[in-house]
């Protein structure tokens, strides 16, 4: 995704009346948003999935399905669940408003709408949406290292596995475990242990841009390498290994730390590939790296590396 030109927030209006769409377009013309208009519930649900808008303006009285049902379906689908929905309706019934809010709408605008109020409510929903996204992201970050956490790794690995299978791309997973971390902690204290974790995370997190670095457990890290085969990932992992072993500790000049790495890609897996099998394969390789003396990178299929795959 390009960082220099931020995308304008998308707002989807679902309303069966063209009169309303024209009005919304005129009234929101000067807002920094991309406004998309659809006329039916079916189109609306499809557009919500495809477009992933930040905010939906949803009419209650659609012809094919009422707005409450549309909202319930949006909330039931993980892909559309977090979109902020504002009900727009000519209904003055308090019950309708209560029902809409109970179903998970963030706000309610009466028709005919007051222009200032409409703009303010859309802005407020966009603001809230940004905060919700930020919080959701926070919940997936590791507090100490700032890397993604285990929960994120699980979600992301599942998505990457599905995508790699669908498009026939490579996908590798690296598991990395700091060597003798417990004795480091015992000898130099937990603050030093934390520093080791942070510096290691800094190295793993500043690699190639498609790689996804996560803190997998206490002193264990994971790196998802989309579009990368076993050989290339071995090289990536080895560069990380070297950098970690070269870290200088100003307060503890004599100390050297190291890490062991297990690497697996989809070709190491027998049968249908799953994220669990990929993790298990990388974990087994990591175990062999530890047993073989630590501070090294081992591939899941030890027979395969460093020679090319036999198929």
């Amino acid at each position: 995704m390009s960082h220099d030109e931020p995308m304008r927030p998308r707002v989807l209006a679902i309303d069966d009346s063209d009169l309303v769409h024209r009005l919304l377009r005129a009234r929101l013309r000067h807002e920094r948003i991309d406004l998309h208009s659809v006329h039916t519930a079916d189109e609306g649900i499809a557009a919500a999935k495809k477009l992933q808008p930040e905010v939906i303006l949803l009419d209650i009285d659609l012809e094919d399905l009422d707005g409450f049902e549309v909202l319930a379906r949006l909330k039931a689908d993980p892909i559309t669940r977090d979109i902020a929905v504002i009900f727009v309706s000519a209904s003055n019934e308090t019950m309708d408003r209560v029902r809409g809010l109970d179903l998970g709408a963030v706000d309610f605008v009466g028709k005919p709408f007051d222009v200032g109020e409409l703009k303010a409510r859309v802005r407020s929903a966009l603001r809230m949406q940004r905060l919700v996204k930020m919080l959701a992201q926070r919940a997936q970050l590791d507090g100490l290292t700032g890397l993604w956490n285990r929960a994120y790794l699980d979600d992301r690995l599942e998505a990457e596995t599905a995508s790699a299978i669908r498009y026939g791309n490579s996908l590798s997973l690296v598991l990395c475990d700091l060597d003798r971390f417990k004795s480091l902690n015992d000898s130099y204290g937990h603050p030093f242990g934390d520093e080791v974790l942070e510096r290691t995370a800094g190295i793993l997190g500043s690699g190639r841009s498609p790689d996804v670095a996560c803190r997998y457990g206490g002193e264990e890290f994971a790196l998802i390498a989309p579009g990368t085969d076993l050989m290339e990932t071995m090289e990536v992992a080895d560069r990380h290994r070297v950098r970690i072993s070269e870290i200088q500790w100003t307060d503890r000049p004599g100390v050297r730390i190291s890490a062991s790495f297990g690497v697996a890609d989809l070709s190491c897996i027998s049968g249908a590939p799953t994220p669990e099998k990929l993790i298990a394969a990388a974990d087994q390789a990591l175990y062999r790296a530890k047993k073989a003396g630590r501070n090294q990178v081992v591939a899941a299929d030890a027979q395969v590396w460093p020679h090319s795959a036999t198929g």
Partner: protein
Amino acid sequence: MGYADGSGMDQTPETNGTPPLHSIYEDDLDLRDLVIRFVEEMDQRVETIRSAFLSEDVVALQRISHQLKGAAGGYGFDSIGDSAARLEYDLLTDEAMISDLSERVEDLISSCRAAVRPGDS
């Protein structure tokens, strides 16, 4: 002047002396063109209301009154929205026959026909 049929139908009983309705947004630059279009579509809208009423098509009548209730105010014609709201209310709640609603329907039609295109006078 200005009526497509040119037959002097603007003096038909349903306008009933309703004073001309001006949009409160006729000088709003963001909205002026939309208001003009809204008024220009009025003849067609009146025709839809009239034929739905004559053919006792409750669903169509309800749909258009609901749409006008929600939208007319947005174009600066609150009184059209109010007439539409009264008609929709009766359609939804009255046990009465659709033919009993002629007064409400005529009321809505005359409000619609009283709408003035911005720039006209």
